[in-house]
């Protein structure tokens, strides 16, 4: 793709700028970026396939572990699809509780992002401050659900835990603290000179490019595209709550920062409303073990953008197919575009600005490159035999040890 004389620097799969393994091969001329090659696939865990081997209830907990940050997003999205196939009418109280957890999760995700962004531009003070304040919302989540991440709140047909009066009071108290802190962060992010210098004009993605590359979430909204599933295709209790879809016209990393910190304020508003209007009623409806034949697509506005789940059932207690389209997959192509003609120093913040979650995104990738002639697919037995042979060539022989182990197992 590029001239071999170019300086090619690998950012990842292991690199301090990245919190997860992902390969970026950056072609450089001095400090200028000529082009970026992105390589997914270092973090594939086979969750979609594993979901086919488990029952629907087991799948909720599996799919919750797609992402460590937006775990509630994925499980809600999956549960919504299953409920649609089964034709379940979820109690309104359960929908409200899902909404509250979803917004608390958005708060913790955005605060986390703010810290990471600060770290990427060498402003560790912001990291320390925002992560300290993130503890407030983490404590609240732990108090309601019992866990700091992977809340296990959802079940098919409702939620598993209630929010009582004491918890409501605690949440409201925490929101007051967070609101005050967020106002301070808005001030810092929009007024501190060095932050603005590093953020504005960096990683520009025009409105047209957003539409062409199908970016989602805050990345799209920062370019003035009003794209938010909560408003466009309301799920859970969002149809009954009033909130603003935050957009910004800067179209750069600065815009994305502004969108995220302002969205925090909207989240506080949503939670306050939801807590105030929390209707009484049951938490779940009874769901059948075997889900009838059918298929459904469910959309959900995760903190990073639109999350899409597709579920196909075949009348048994296990799904036939589960497909997950995490928001990062939609955004990652835009990164390549944003980095064109930028400096190497902008690379970490531009990548971080889409709030990437690579392990959510990773799917099986078959590499078929010209320079990869040795690549072939071999079966398990051949691989096993090959590994024994390979170790023997290195002078390591496990035959004796294996015999001992076998004897021990027998004896």
């Amino acid at each position: 793709m590029h001239d071999s004389k170019d300086f090619k620097i690998p950012i990842g799969p292991q690199h301090p700028a990245l919190k997860e393994p992902e390969g970026f091969s950056v072609a450089l001329k001095g400090e200028k970026i000529l082009g970026v090659d992105i390589r997914l696939g270092y973090n594939h865990r086979g969750i979609e396939k594993a979901a086919e081997e488990r029952t629907y209830v087991q799948d909720i907990y599996l799919i919750e572990r797609v992402c460590g940050i937006c775990s509630h997003s994925h499980s809600t999205c999956f549960v919504q699809a299953v409920e649609e196939i089964a034709g379940l009418a979820v109690p309104i109280r359960a929908l409200y509780i899902r909404t509250i957890i979803a917004e608390l999760e958005r708060i913790h995700s955005h605060l986390l992002w703010l810290g990471v962004a600060g770290h990427e531009i060498g402003f560790d003070t912001l990291l320390m401050y925002s992560w300290r304040d993130r503890e407030v919302v983490m404590d609240i989540l732990a108090a309601i659900t019992g866990n700091r991440v992977n809340y296990g709140m959802n079940t098919i047909g409702g939620v598993r835990r209630d929010i009582d009066a004491q918890q409501t009071e605690d949440i409201l108290k925490a929101l007051t603290i967070l609101e005050e802190r967020t106002k301070y962060y808005i001030e810092v992010a929009t007024q501190e000179t060095t932050i603005i210098k590093r953020l504005s004009g960096v990683g520009i993605l025009s409105r047209e490019d957003v539409l062409r590359l199908d970016a989602v979430g805050p990345t799209a909204r920062a370019s003035g595209v009003k794209r938010d599933v909560r408003a466009d295709d309301p799920y859970a209790a969002y149809a009954e709550l009033s909130f603003k879809v935050i957009t910004d016209d800067h179209a750069d990393v600065y815009g994305r920062t502004v969108v995220r910190v302002k969205e925090l304020m909207e989240s506080y508003k949503i939670i306050r409303q939801a807590l105030k209007n929390l209707p009484a009623g049951p938490l779940t409806v009874r769901a059948p073990r075997k889900i009838p034949v059918g298929e459904a697509i469910s959309r959900y506005e995760a903190p990073r953008g639109e999350d899409v789940h597709y579920v196909k059932s075949n009348g048994t207690e296990k799904p036939e197919r589960v497909k997950i389209r995490a928001p990062t997959l939609a955004n990652v192509q835009a990164v390549k575009h944003m980095l064109r003609d930028r400096y190497l120093a902008d690379m970490p913040i531009v990548v971080a600005a889409i709030d990437p979650c690579f392990s959510c995104t990773d799917r099986m990738v078959a590499l078929k490159e010209e320079d990869c002639a040795r690549a072939k697919i071999i079966n398990w037995q051949t691989l096993h035999a090959f590994s024994i042979e390979w170790y023997k060539q290195q002078g390591i022989d496990f035959t004796e040890l294996n015999k001992k182990l076998q004897d021990k197992l027998k004896g």
């Binding site: 690998p10 400090e31 060095t194 190497l344 120093a345």
Partner: protein, 313 residues
């Protein structure tokens, strides 16, 4: 002979500088941590890190030039320590002194950066080379305002010798007040020399891992880090002497305490500055130095020339 060895190896030479450098690192890290709402390291952390690194394996990359790779850290440390011998800590006398030692101190303080470049360049790793080139590029940006800031003060005293400067400022007690702009300029430039935020561009970990230091490990990494610590002490001592030259005739003990206080003040300022800003990009850094710091330094020199023509006539 024995006396000279004592001066060079123990006080105020190698041993004293190692201890004060590591202590300075602790103070810097502690202030940084407290300002960020963290607990921060215990007092022995810097020593523990240093000793641990000394005990670790030295790895020399196969592709590197082993001689240059090994020499660079020692060279850097030696230069930084030598610079300290020319700085009067209290009173008017430094260990070594001659007419023109301001230039020598500044020159010796430039050498570590060059050594970082050489070490990084000869590690041949991609990140090291990028970091090395960045540190050299940064050198051209901050070095000029730093020299101008410090030499403006010397200009007012009409000498190139630190000793003569001390004598002049003791004779004209309040004249250091005129050099405060120069102090601000030099302090900001010093951040570039010490590779601290906002000028930690050569070792920006999210971009170039550890820059020129990436391939270093064990003892040689310990020396490189010690060099930066020693530079911090030498740099702040130099600034303390040049810009706050008061109370230098108090005698050894009070003089030394006052000197410590001045150095601590400058260290605190360095920590504070690096807490409240984000890292700049290399082009922004070069722009900032040449657009704002250099013209300011020129103004300082102009002011000092006018002062010389009027008040000191």
């Amino acid at each position: 002979m024995l006396g000279a060895l004592f001066y060079i190896l123990i006080f105020p030479g190698f041993l004293f500088l190692v201890f004060s450098g590591l202590t300075a690192e602790f103070i810097d890290r502690k202030i940084y941590a407290r300002l960020q709402n963290r607990v921060g390291p215990p007092w022995f952390q810097a020593y523990a890190d240093f000793i641990k690194l000394l005990a670790k394996e030295d790895i020399v990359p196969a592709e590197s030039n082993p001689k240059m790779f090994r020499v660079a850290p020692v060279f850097a440390l030696t230069a930084a320590i030598t610079a300290f011998l020319y700085i009067p800590l209290w009173g008017k006398e430094a260990l070594l002194s001659f007419n023109g030692d301001v230039i020598i101190v500044l020159y010796l303080l430039t050498l570590p950066t060059l050594a970082f470049f050489i070490g990084g360049w000869y590690s041949t790793s991609l990140y090291s080379r990028l970091g090395a080139v960045r540190s050299l590029m940064q050198l051209f940006a901050y070095e000029v305002p730093l020299f101008m800031g410090i030499l403006a003060s010397a200009l007012l005293a009409d000498t190139w010798s630190l000793k003569e400067m001390v004598i002049f400022y003791t004779a004209h007690p309040w004249f250091w007040m005129f050099n405060l702009t120069g102090f601000a300029i030099s302090l900001v430039s010093l951040l570039g020399k010490l590779e601290k935020v906002p000028f930690d561009i050569p070792e920006a970990e999210t971009e170039v891992v550890a820059g020129g230091f990436t391939e270093y490990s064990g003892r040689m990494l310990a020396y490189l880090r010690l060099t930066l610590d020693v530079e911090m002490v030498v740099g702040s001592s130099l600034l303390a002497l040049v810009f706050f030259p008061f109370g230098l005739n108090l005698g050894p003990l009070p003089g030394f305490l006052l000197f410590l206080f001045k150095v601590l003040f400058i260290l605190g300022l360095i920590s504070l500055l690096r807490t409240v800003v984000a890292r700049l990009r290399i082009d922004q850094m070069v722009n900032f130095c040449w657009k704002y710091l250099v013209p300011l330094a020129l103004l300082q020199i102009l002011l000092n020339l006018i002062l010389k023509g009027t008040l000191l006539r």
